[in-house]
């Protein structure tokens, strides 16, 4: 177990290096300049431009730039081209919102995915299974921004559900509980929208895993000794096919953070996704490098956690 974790951490160091290379070079090697005011403005003298390039190390060879970027990222010195504030500070203030959004979305995807998956496996081959799997493919096929807009059109007339931000402004909350409820209420619609695709994917995995487990020998043994089918299904089969629920955490993360760009933009939700979108619009290279790097490392950690958790939960797994 310990050796496994150490080995995984060593591999992760290699991966972090690769991730840093990819996130830096994809952004830097593409043509275009990161000036907020544009390269061609005649009113800006060459001296100002040169000074600017110097300040952000844009006049140096690319390997040095990479070195400055990465060193800056780890020492917290890397500053945004947009407003000169440290990149880590800008990301840090946005991180809690995105993390809570993603945690909710993961919780929704996993729980509903599990329910739907188990139910379709139970009714495998019957009409319930077919219609549920068609429904899941519909979830996958729907463009999330489109459904969100349709929901907004439909809901705004009927329900007082908040559509922007994370908190209600101008309200004095009687206590912390009310504040928390208000936050959750703001989180509800974005999280559900973000989770749609995850529910679909997760339920497919759970269903497949259930069906696979049901063909195992010990299930046949249980049937042979005359156990009630429900007991076999929920006690023996379900427990042994929960693997995709755990590995799901790892595989859902990158998709969720990517999808959050659109959802956060629609709901004016102050998270990392919208920060990234703004950084793209502003060509804020340091922020983009840092965002891509940090999210990828977060995903890496999520995967590592899922693997370790997987071994803790399932004693059959020997981590080598």
């Amino acid at each position: 177990m310990i050796t496994f974790i150490i080995r995984r951490l060593l591999i992760s160091v290699v991966l972090v290096f690769l991730i840093s290379l990819i996130s830096f070079f994809i952004i830097t090697l593409t043509p275009g300049s990161p000036y907020p005011w544009g390269e061609l403005n005649p009113k800006i003298s060459q001296a100002v431009k040169d000074n600017y390039r110097k300040q952000f190390h844009l006049d140096e060879p690319i390997w040095n730039q990479y070195w400055y970027n990465m060193r800056g990222l780890f020492t917290g010195e890397l500053r945004s081209i947009k407003d000169g504030r440290p990149v880590l500070e800008r990301i840090g203030e946005r991180l809690p919102a995105t993390v809570s959004l993603n945690v909710c979305a993961i919780a929704i995807s996993l729980s509903f995915g599990l329910l739907i998956g188990v139910y379709s496996a139970r009714k495998s081959g019957q009409w319930q299974d077919t219609s549920l799997s068609t429904l899941c493919f519909t979830f996958l096929a729907l463009p999330e921004f489109w459904v969100t807009y349709l929901l907004i059109i439909g809901l705004t007339n009927w329900v007082a559900i908040p559509l922007t931000g994370t908190v209600s402004h101008g309200i004095l909350f009687p206590n912390e509980g009310a504040r928390l409820l208000d936050r959750l209420w703001h989180l509800f619609l974005p999280a559900v929208m973000l989770a749609l695709g995850g529910i679909a994917g997760q339920s497919r995995y759970v269903r497949a895993s259930m069906l696979e487990t049901l063909r195992e020998d010990y299930i046949r043994t249980a049937q042979a000794k005359g156990l009630h089918p429900d007991k076999i299904f929920y006690r023996h089969a379900l427990r042994n096919s929960l693997r995709p629920v755990i590995t799901g955490i790892g595989s859902l993360l990158p998709a969720l953070i990517g999808g959050a760009v659109i959802i956060e933009t629609i709901f004016a939700y102050p998270g990392i996704g919208r920060l990234g979108y703004q950084a793209v619009l502003e060509r804020d290279y340091p922020t983009l490098v840092a965002l891509n790097f940090i999210t990828a490392v977060l995903v890496l950690l999520g995967n590592l956690l899922a693997d370790v958790l997987y071994a803790v939960v399932d004693p059959r797994v020997r981590l080598e």
Binding site: F137, T138, A141, G258, N292, A296
Partner: protein, 280 residues
């Protein structure tokens, strides 16, 4: 496999829908190339007839510049299909080559290639694509290539797994004993036997690429106006969200219809390909 596919009614319906989409897309690609205004010119503005709800002249209404939404949806159809197919072709080419080399060579080659795949998989792909497309400049070919370059990792892993098992089979060993070179074995013997799962992932990759393009269009980094695409009709319409529902509803239905057809067809194919499970 083909016979088993045709027994699945949902799959056949989805396949027919895809054929229909193809016919529409090819027709309107030719029509817009020839600049034939059928049913109406998709880019003709008419401010006297702006934001009209569906009516006998404009079946699906008009947008804020008085352009006919129905014509715009039809003339935008080939964009989505082109993105889907070309992006998947790009990702297949890279994925199959990397996966084949990795699975066949094994050892340190495999180790290095798979670590690269792992690293790319850690990135939230939509965000990476958005960044790259925004910096490169959004054009149809940039979008297609970037989507392809980011989404090959799944295919590579799948192909590698297939190769790991197939490389140990007897006919491969026989070919190796006969002194055949690695490329001949990879492309002549192993790859043909791994085609079924590759084909399935390819079909399932198409709707994902279409959705990515729609999302990019929505954020303003898709194929640029005045070219109509399903995504940017919705993006333009979002300003009139509560006044002009037809600008949102119909292009979204077009996207959902096509992606759902591909997903259902792909799933039917997957079921048909999984002989082992069926037989058990």
């Amino acid at each position: 496999m083909i016979r088993r596919f045709f027994r699945n009614r949902l799959g056949v319906a989805a396949l027919l829908a895809i054929c229909g989409l193809f016919a529409v897309a090819v027709t309107f690609a030719i029509l817009s190339y020839l600049k034939v205004p059928f049913p109406q010119d998709p880019n003709l503005t008419n401010l006297e007839r702006k934001l009209l709800p569906p009516n006998p002249v404009n079946w699906l209404g008009t947008d804020n510049l008085g352009r006919d939404v129905f014509s715009r949806i039809l003339h935008g159809s080939y964009i989505s299909l082109t993105v889907g197919f070309v992006a998947v072709a790009v990702s297949l080419m890279i994925g199959v080559v990397v996966g084949a080399i990795s699975g066949y060579a094994g050892r340190w080659v495999d180790n290095i290639l798979m670590r690269v795949v792992d690293a790319i998989m850690c990135f939230p792909s939509f965000f990476l694509i958005l960044t790259a497309v925004a910096l490169l400049g959004p054009s149809l070919w940039n979008i297609v290539v970037v989507i392809g370059l980011v989404s090959w990792t799944g295919t590579a892993r799948l192909v590698r797994a297939e190769f790991l098992t197939l490389r140990e089979t007897e006919y491969v060993r026989a070919a190796r004993t006969l002194g055949q070179r690695a490329p001949a074995i990879i492309f002549g013997h192993i790859l043909p036997n791994a085609m079924a799962p590759i084909f399935v992932t390819a079909v399932l990759g198409i709707p994902a690429a279409i959705l990515t393009e729609a999302g990019l269009s929505f954020l303003g980094f898709g194929v640029q106006p005045p070219q109509a695409t399903w995504g940017n009709i919705i993006a333009d319409g979002k300003t009139y969200l509560l006044d002009a529902w037809w600008l949102i509803l119909f292009p979204g239905l077009a996207i959902t219809f096509s992606t759902l057809s591909f997903y259902l067809a792909g799933d039917a194919l997957r079921q048909a390909a999984e002989t082992r499970i069926e037989r058990k």
